[in-house]
Structures are given as C-alpha cells and as structure tokens.
C-alpha cells in the first residue's frame, strides 16, 4: 500500500514538474533575454554572457522611454477604467439576474454569452471604420468600449453564479433584527458578495490588460496605444539591431502587475471561486 502511494506521489511530482517547466520556460527565456546586451542577443545560449540592465535602462530612461512609459500609462488608465465600469455594471446586472424574476432574464444571459464567444478579429475592421468616422479612433474611450464588450459578459456570468449562492434569507434576517434595507444589504450581503466581486474584477483586469488585437488596430499614436501594442513599435539602436532585448524587458515589466495581483490576492481569488454559504 505504502509503495503505491510513494509511486503515485512520484508520478504526480513528475507531471507537476513537466507542466511547470512547460508553462514557465518561455517566461524564464524572456527574463533571461531581457538581461542580455544587444550584441549578446543571438549568441544561441539561453543565459546572457553578462547580466546587464541596459534594456531596462533603454525603455525606462533611454530612447524608448517616451514610447514605453506613455503606453504604460495608457494601459493602466484604460484597463482600470474599463475594469471599474465592467464590475459596477456587471454587479447590478448579476444582482438583478440572481434576485429578480423578470421577462428577458434568459435573453440577457444568452446575449452576454453570444457576445463573449464572438471572434474579436471579425469585428475589428468594421469597428475601425466606425471609430474613425465618429472620432473615437485613437482615444481612451475608443478602447474602453470594446474592452467592456470583452469583460462584461464574463463578469456577468461569474457574478450571477456567485450571487445565486448567497442566502438571501440573511437580508431578511437582518431586517427582522432591526436593519434598514440599506443596512441589511451593507452588513449582511456585501461582506458575502465582496470576494466574488473581487475575483471578477481581477479577471476583468487581466482580460483588458492582455488585449492586443484592439490595442493595435484602434490606435495610431501614443495618445491611446497600450503596452502590448506598443511593444511592436520598439526599434533597435540602429536599423541593424533588433529590439528583442527592449521588448523582452517591457514584457517582463507588464507581467509584474499581473503576477503581483495573483500572488497577493491568491486567497481572495480562491475563496471567491470556492466560498459557499453556511448551510444548515
């Protein structure tokens, strides 16, 4: 018996290592590349000969600074705004779906699902034309709106599922205990709903943060270009140098907030995804 458990454990450990390497190797490769000097880039080795910060220097304080820092600011601004709007709208919508019985409830959910499975690439071209005509092209708003179409459906679905398992009896219990409708909502329901809203916000943030197709197609200048799109516009020091190093450094920098979010709020995410109510 003991032998089998050791064996199973070994097999599991093996699988874990394989998966981890498979998933993390590219990240490590980029990390290593970002520390290479330009002349070192095509040395055919994984690790840089000399660890140097020249690429980071270039994008943060050097030539590429303008390109990178403005796009970083665009990315942060656009992503935060669209996340906030998506979460507020999705919370209201999911609350209605979970609590109220109204005609068209199914329609809302189906539409949300239909929108989220619609291939992004097929709407980009018409959207490009429309945006150009009405003047939304290359503006923050011009990106926030399409991002909402990506983040809203999944937010509505996640939150509706989450709200459905909140025992609404708690709200009534609080009212009987002497709470006003608002107090009942704030003291009994919000603390239970918070992890779900939080999880949804993080998911929405990732989606908007990682978008490339809209970012590259609906912008033309630094006015609204987000980081994933800006990476494509990096140039080397001369036309004979490839900008691989700078791109790698920028990629590492934009990955940092995502990694921090996940590590920092791991608990909330997991509890948001798994928390059930107290059942009798």
């Amino acid at each position: 018996m003991k032998k089998t458990t050791t064996k199973t454990r070994l097999i599991w450990a093996g699988i874990t290592v394989v998966v981890a390497v498979y998933a993390l190797f590219p990240v490590f490769s980029i990390l290593a590349t970002s520390f290479k000097e330009p002349s070192d880039l095509s040395n055919g080795k994984l690790l840089p000969t000399n660890w140097s910060g020249v690429n980071y220097e270039q994008i943060l304080v050097g030539d590429a600074q303008g390109l990178f820092l403005t796009s970083l600011r665009n990315s942060i601004g656009i992503t935060l705004i669209s996340t906030a709007i998506a979460v507020v709208l999705a919370t209201l919508c999911a609350y209605a779906i979970a609590r109220l019985d109204f005609p068209g409830k199914k329609l809302v959910l189906t539409t949300a699902l239909a929108v989220s499975i619609f291939p992004v690439i097929s709407i980009v071209t018409p959207l490009f034309n429309v945006w150009r005509t009405i003047g939304l092209y290359d503006t923050w708003l011009g990106l926030i709106i399409p991002y909402l179409s990506l983040t809203l459906p999944i937010s509505i679905w996640t939150l509706a599922a989450f709200f459905r398992q909140i025992p609404w009896e708690l709200e009534q219990a609080a009212q009987v205990d002497g709470a006003t409708a608002w107090q009942a909502f704030r003291k009994a329901i919000v603390p239970l709903a918070a992890p779900g809203v939080f999880t949804t916000a993080i998911i929405a943030f990732f989606i908007a943060w990682n978008d490339f197709v809209y970012g590259i197609s609906l912008t033309s200048t630094e006015a609204a270009r987000p980081v994933p799109a800006a990476l494509a516009f990096f140039t080397g020091a001369s036309q004979f140098e490839s900008p691989t190093g700078a791109i790698s450094a920028a990629a590492i920098i934009v990955t940092i907030p995502v990694v921090l979010l996940v590590l920092g709020f791991q608990r909330q995410i997991v509890s948001g995804l798994t928390q059930g109510a107290v059942k009798g």
Binding site: P167, A173, Q175, V176, D177, G178, K187, A188, L192, G280
Partner: protein, 418 residues
C-alpha cells in the same frame, strides 16, 4: 411582551392564489401558539406576514392594539428564528448574537452588549464557541446561535419558522425541551411554525391547524386530539393517525367492514338519517379483548378480526387489519389523504395493543373497541358530528390556566436563582 391579533388576514399572490385566506387568531401575551399543517397550507407565509417579510393583501394585524400592517420588519420589534438559521457566515458567534444590538445604534454601550451577549451565551451553553465562525459549528450549535440572536434583545415576540427541521431526531427532542423551558422562563409571546405534530403537541398552549390557507381549528392540543372539529384535524393530529371506517347506522348498531358495533344512543343519533357516515377511531380505542378488565367491557364491543401483522415496540404494539372499501369510500379516503400530504390512505385499520398481548398476525383474534369515544364524521362536509364544543372549550381553558401557573412558577424559580 405583547399580544398579537390577526384579523381576517388574506395573502393573495399575483396569480390570484390565496396562500392565506381569511385567518383570524388572537394570541395572548405570553402565549405559545403553534401553526401546523401539511406543506403548502400557508403556515410559513402567515408567519412571514406577522414579521413583515410578506405583504398583507387584506385584513389587519395588530401588535398590542397597534396596527402594524404597513410597518417595516425592524419597527415591529419581533425576533425570528429561521429554518436554516440565517447566521451571518462572516461574523463570529459573538458578533452574530450581538448583531441586533449593534444595529440599535446608541441604545447599548459596549459594556451592555458584552454583558447581554455573554448572558445569552451562558443560557444557551455557547460561551466556549463565541470566537468561532458559524461555518465551524454543528447543527445544534448553529440552532442555538440563532436562538441567542433572538433572545438577546428582548423582543416583543419570538417567531420560529420550523427551527428544528434540520436537526437529527435526538437533538430535536433536546432542543424542543430547551425552547419550551426558555419560553416559559421569559414568558415571551411565541408563534412557532412546524409540520411536526410532536412539536405542535408538546410545545403549544394552543395549536392552529391550517389547510390550504384556511384555519381549521385553533385549540389546546388536548382539545384538538379529543374534540376535533372535522375529519382533517382528526386525521392530522395523532400518530399513528385516526382510522376512518365507513359505517351505516341501524338503530344503535353501526355496521362497518370490520364488524358491527353497538354504540351509545347519543352517538348513534348523530348518524341517523344518513346513508353512510365515516367512523373515526383512534388506534388506542382498541384493545386485546382478553386483557380488558371486566368492569370496562360493558363500555365497548368485542369483535373478531384477523390481523395481517403486528409490530412490537416494547411499551405497546400495533396491529393492522385490512378492509375492502367500496369505490366511493375509497375516493373519499384518497382525497383526505391528499389533503393530509400522504400518498394514499391504505384501507387498513391500525390498532394499539398492550405490549403483553399475545395476538399475532394471520390468526383470527378477539379485539375490543371502546365505543364511548368514537367520532362520527359527515362524509360530505367532513364535519365532526359527535363533537362536544363545551367539553373542548373546557380543555382549552384548562390549558390556559396551566400556562399561567407554569409562567408564574418559572418566574419565581428564576427570581430565586437570580
């Protein structure tokens, strides 16, 4: 402390279905009233109307002579224990119990809150668990936390919505006793919804039996048991439930499928002129003929019957007699069974026998029936033709006096202890 008065309360849903139909009940200060009935009879709806979670379509609800129809739940000063406890999962046990106190801002100082919660926790034996979250408690402990939240703020009345239905049988018995003692000690008006008739019979000063949103009878448990107004109440109260047998009257003789019984003249008179009546016999009215004392024999009839089988329970045993009803009687019994929430009423008579009886299934044996206590029901209306209203009222009056005495004794004991 408050009295609650329900006057012609009606609850109609949007589709016009009356969940509660014209119910009037006067609940006296300190009284323990049970609402009981099969599922879908409107008992929970009625309770939620009292506490303010359901709108009242028409009729008046008074708490202490004040009309509260349009008051928000929080202004009614009632405490409610929910079926699945409705504890706040993100708060500790202490904060759960303190919740109503914290909501009444400024009314209680922090010391007050501490003192009251600890006192409530002590009564409910929760002191060791005050820092835990409800999710880590057992069912019985959660139940007690819910009670703690109700008693901590000294509400005008307690409302219970099937509070014990999620507990196992043993714990249920224990909590039942605790609720009963607590109610007597605090002498707080209580309304308790249940579908369990043991709870109804043991806890209630008066029990209101509901069927399809209508009040059938409200009386002390003893009156319900001994003087039910109709066949529904008679069939609902009592376990095993009352047997119903079709009978035709010929003089003082009632002819039934299991034998002919000679009944007292006044009982027979109620059945006169009707082609067919339903005889209501509680299982314990039967006995093994060989075990009945000589002096008692004259009050009843002996008859022979064949039991299909018997069940020995230690203190008593049940025997079963099958009979063949005519189709119309069968329809009648089936419709009664539907009303009572059972799938079908088997055409079978249950008899309670002394544990010492040697009667066994499959043999013809001599049974005895106490004919003084029979009930006769009108098969068309279900009305109890043999009901003695005065005797019933006397039983309920007795229960009222007992309640007054018990409350007095509980307060005296509390005063001595405290």
């Amino acid at each position: 402390m408050a009295s609650i008065t329900l006057k012609n309360l009606v609850k109609k849903y949007d589709d016009g279905f009356p969940a509660v139909n014209d119910i009037s009940i006067d609940i006296a200060d300190g009284e323990f009233v049970i609402l009981v009935g099969p599922s879908g009879c409107g008992k929970s709806t009625l309770l939620r109307m009292i506490v303010g979670l359901e709108d009242i379509t028409s009729g008046d609800l008074y708490i202490d002579d004040k009309r509260v129809n349009d008051m928000a739940p929080r202004d009614r000063h009632l405490a409610m224990v929910f079926q699945n406890y409705a504890l706040y999962p993100h708060l500790t046990v202490f904060e759960n119990i303190a919740f109503p106190l914290r909501l009444a801002k400024g009314k209680f100082s922090e010391d007050d809150v501490q003192e009251r919660v600890r006192a409530a926790a002590l009564t409910l034996e929760l002191t060791d668990h005050l820092d835990r979250k409800p999710g880590n408690l057992s069912g019985g402990q959660r139940q007690r936390v819910a009670m703690g939240r109700a008693i901590v703020r000294q509400a005008d009345a307690f409302l219970f919505d099937e509070p014990l239905s999620n507990l196992d049988a043993k714990l249920r018995g224990q909590m039942r006793a605790e609720i009963s003692q607590m109610q007597r000690r605090l002498a707080t008006t209580s309304v308790y919804v249940t579908h369990d008739q043991t709870e109804a019979m043991t806890l209630g000063d008066r029990v209101a039996v509901l069927k399809k949103g209508e009040l059938q009878q409200i009386a002390s448990p003893r009156e319900l048991y001994e003087q039910p107004v109709n066949i529904f109440v008679a069939g609902f109260i009592g376990s095993p439930s009352m047997n119903f047998l079709p009978a035709t009257a010929e003089g003082n003789i009632l002819k039934t499928p299991i034998g002919d019984f000679e009944v007292p003249a006044e009982t027979a008179a109620t059945a006169a002129g009707k082609e067919i009546v339903l005889l209501g016999i509680r299982p314990e009215y039967f006995e093994d003929a060989s075990l009945v004392e000589e002096s008692k024999l004259v009050h009843g009839n002996a008859f022979s019957a064949e039991l299909t089988h018997t069940e020995w329970l230690g203190n008593e045993q049940y025997g079963y007699i099958d009979f063949d009803p005519s189709p119309e009687v069968k329809d009648m019994l089936d419709s009664l069974a539907r009303d009572l929430d059972a799938d079908e009423l088997r055409p079978q008579v249950v008899v309670t026998l002394d544990a010492a009886s040697r009667i066994r299934g499959g043999r013809v044996c001599e049974l005895w029936l106490d004919t003084r206590r029979l009930h006769i029901f009108d098969p068309a209306t279900g009305e109890n033709l043999t009901r003695d209203a005065d005797a019933g009222a006397a039983l309920t009056e007795e229960a009222n006096q007992e309640r007054a005495e018990e409350i007095e004794r509980a307060t005296r004991e509390a005063a001595e202890a405290g």
